[in-house]
Symmetry: C2
Subunit: 122 residues, 2 copies
């Protein structure tokens, strides 16, 4: 793993953003600093390295957010809030949902998204 400009810049953007960023948003923010393809590859790498989460948005689009405490494996059981008005996706770290799955299913990961209006759009 090398500290390249692209990697550093992309990780900075994601870390400093309040909301999760899409590939397109990252590309726009970088403003030509690096190629679109590089962004794909750096994101994959950051996810492998457990520095960034991949979030599947309610519309199926992808968003990326900084990991909080994923050292050896991603653990992303908090809720993501997706705003239907401005499109922002926010990690609600504090909220852990409670649920029961029939025993015959073996649970490994969890992906919870709630959509509606964020505080800014209410």
């Amino acid at each position: 793993m090398r500290n390249t400009i692209a990697r550093t810049q992309i990780l900075d953007l994601i870390t400093n953003s309040k909301t999760a960023l899409s590939h397109a948003e990252i590309e726009q923010l970088l403003d030509g600093l690096c190629n679109r393809v590089t962004i794909y590859r750096v994101l994959d790498r950051l996810i492998d390295d457990k520095l960034v989460h991949k979030i599947i948005n309610v519309d199926g689009s992808l968003k990326f957010a900084a990991c909080r405490n994923c050292s050896d494996h991603h653990h992303d059981s908090h809720i993501h809030f997706s705003c239907l008005n401005c499109g922002s996706v926010t990690c609600l770290e504090s909220v852990e949902p409670v649920f029961k799955i029939p025993r015959k299913y073996k649970v490994q990961e969890v992906n919870f998204t709630v959509s509606g209006l964020c505080p800014d759009c209410t």
Copy 2:
């Protein structure tokens, strides 16, 4: 809304399937009965008509399942189980998760997916 062959067949497939179906699976099952584009259009229509749910899978792919009780609006707050081995997606109708979102957020929809191993793959 017309009762065309494509519409009838596609709705039948989805209704009779234990698991949610992807566009590709539907296309394969129909085996050339209708065009790929038609499947896209029929699915959109069935969703509009509240006969079919669109489910966003953990990998971002789309799956379609029959609606249970969505008369005027989709209400899809149950958990979807996504098998990481066989790729099947199942609606767990009986399980309603409990969670609390900060008041400043206005909740409209919910999308909960749990992934792991389904009973057949354990």
